[in-house]
């Protein structure tokens, strides 16, 4: 089909398929939200462990972080998809079989674990960036660990870690496109690929896909920027203070900065 000759047919096909495309979009958004939530929890727990002075917490956290950061997302996905269920196949009657065989949950799990390990590094780094005097002051006041984390350290670290977490969330959204190869999960990319067959002109669909992902990524960065502004305001710091304290760094609020993974 030639796009320029049959453009009305073309749009008819796209409109006919719009239900499926929206379903796929919904799946991608769900993967991003659930995966992001899981990654966030993993990042906070592992990050706090990796930043703690106790060797018993730090060493296991480091091993877990390096393992899941070093192993590629796709390899992790395939291990969860094809190797993990074997344990249930070999031992019939083990609990949670339904969960392991739910390929959507496996996708969420792979995204959450992989990006959670990256996020843990960001959490740990921002904990160490909190001024040393703040840590010393909490010790001087003999605050308990939960108390000082909740009231003093974490709110400051939180404002510092939001830009990295924002970048990682965008990475997770982009990584979720690999759900295309997960059986029974029809994410946005998979539905776009289905659309290629009835219309025969793929490039325009892929381009629709790129634009949609771009808009989703922009919404994530805008949302996280709002969170950052709020977190800083709660610390009583306006934007100018922060800029003057980090003059040599590129502005952390740059909407689209890549950041290190």
């Amino acid at each position: 089909m030639d796009f320029f000759e049959d453009w009305s047919d073309y749009f008819e096909v796209v409109i006919n398929w719009s239900d499926r495309l929206l379903d796929g979009l919904l799946t991608t958004i769900q993967l991003t939200l659930y995966g992001g939530a899981l990654a966030f929890v993993i990042a906070i727990v592992l990050g706090l462990m990796a930043g703690s002075p106790s060797l018993w917490l730090r060493v296991p956290a480091r091993i877990i972080i390096e393992f899941f950061r070093g192993i590629s997302l796709v390899v992790l996905l395939f291990l969860l998809l094809y190797v993990l269920p074997q344990i249930w196949m070999r031992n019939p009657g083990l609990p949670f079989e339904g969960l392991v065989r739910n390929t959507f949950l496996v996708g969420v799990l792979a995204l959450g674990i992989n990006y959670g390990a990256y996020g843990a590094e960001a959490v740990r780094a921002s904990l160490t960036t909190v001024a040393k005097g703040q840590w010393e002051a909490t010790t001087a006041l003999s605050m308990s660990w939960p108390h000082k984390m909740r009231r003093v350290i974490f709110p400051q670290a939180w404002a510092l870690m939001i830009p990295s977490l924002s970048n990682l969330w965008v990475h997770l959204l982009k990584g979720s496109a690999i759900a295309y190869i997960i059986p029974f999960v029809s994410d946005f990319t998979a539905e776009l690929n289905n659309l290629r067959r009835p219309t025969d002109i793929w490039f325009s669909h892929a381009f629709i896909g790129l634009i949609v992902y771009f808009l989703l990524a922009l919404s994530i960065t805008l949302l996280m920027q709002l969170l950052e502004t709020r977190a800083k305001r709660r610390l009583g710091r306006g934007a100018p203070v922060r800029q003057s304290t980090s003059a040599d760094q590129p502005s952390s609020t740059a909407t689209t900065s890549g950041g290190s993974r």
């Binding site: 390096e66 390899v75 291990l79 074997q86 896909g209």
Partner: protein, 240 residues
């Protein structure tokens, strides 16, 4: 021209695995693992490493070009370039691969993989270079102007050498990221290591060995590199 590519439906469906066959076979089969290893290593050397190395070279050069152009182009053009780079950076590499694969039908998929990875990561690296260029003290620019150096010479002899210094660790991190992203090439059926691993495992549903080996190879290659880059970063930080 026709393209043959893998689609979601064509990939092995884990629920269709013959579970009796799985139960009767051992969880780990050393013989199978040793048989699979040479093919996987070959794919690793011939495809995964080639894509990573050539892709990183393209990204490192193109990223610098983008970063310099953003500074020297007139404002409207720089704005267009900036948002083009943002667009590439904020969209999934999987969709980009598929887009280029079906749009440029005459290119082979390995070339597409290398170019898409190179361009995608160039947009990341341009941010690193941008920060590096911004970190060059203003006095250097002023001194170059005072010496009435031509602009090309200012960039080549004064700014870029100083800007590059602090960028090396970040560029290395992105090279590792790219390395770990190479399995995404499965969507345009490039026979990189993880794709080959799946092909070896598919006939007998023996995926344990191949995917564990693939994971170990990724760990073995990326962890030491990450440690090296970390050390380099610390040394550069002391030197400053």
């Amino acid at each position: 021209m026709t393209r043959v590519t893998i689609s979601a439906a064509e990939i092995e469906d884990p629920t269709l695995v013959d579970e009796d066959q799985v139960r009767q076979s051992p969880f780990w089969d050393w013989e199978f693992a040793l048989d699979a290893l040479p093919d996987m290593l070959l794919a690793f050397l011939q495809v995964t490493l080639v894509v990573t190395v050539v892709g990183t070279l393209i990204a490192a050069v193109l990223g610098l070009v983008i970063a310099v152009l953003l500074r020297v182009l007139p404002a409207p053009l720089a704005w267009v370039l900036k948002w083009a780079a943002n667009f590439i950076r904020m969209t999934p590499i999987v969709v980009q691969l598929i887009f280029v694969f079906w749009t440029f039908m005459w290119l082979d998929s390995l070339t597409i993989g290398i170019v898409v990875f190179g361009v995608h990561y160039a947009t990341y690296m341009s941010e690193v270079y941008r920060a590096g260029i911004e970190s060059v003290p203003k006095g250097q620019w002023e001194a170059a102007t005072a010496l009435s150096m031509p602009p090309v010479r200012v960039w080549r002899k004064v700014v870029i050498p100083q800007a590059l210094r602090s960028t090396v660790p970040s560029l290395g991190n992105y090279a590792i990221s790219m390395f770990k992203d190479t399995p995404f090439l499965i969507v345009i059926s490039v026979a990189e290591m993880v794709t080959v691993a799946g092909q070896i495992g598919a006939p007998t549903f023996r995926y344990t060995e191949v995917y564990v080996i693939a994971g170990l190879i990724f760990l073995a290659a990326s962890y030491p590199t990450a440690v090296l880059i970390n050390r380099l970063e610390k040394r550069l930080a002391y030197a400053h």
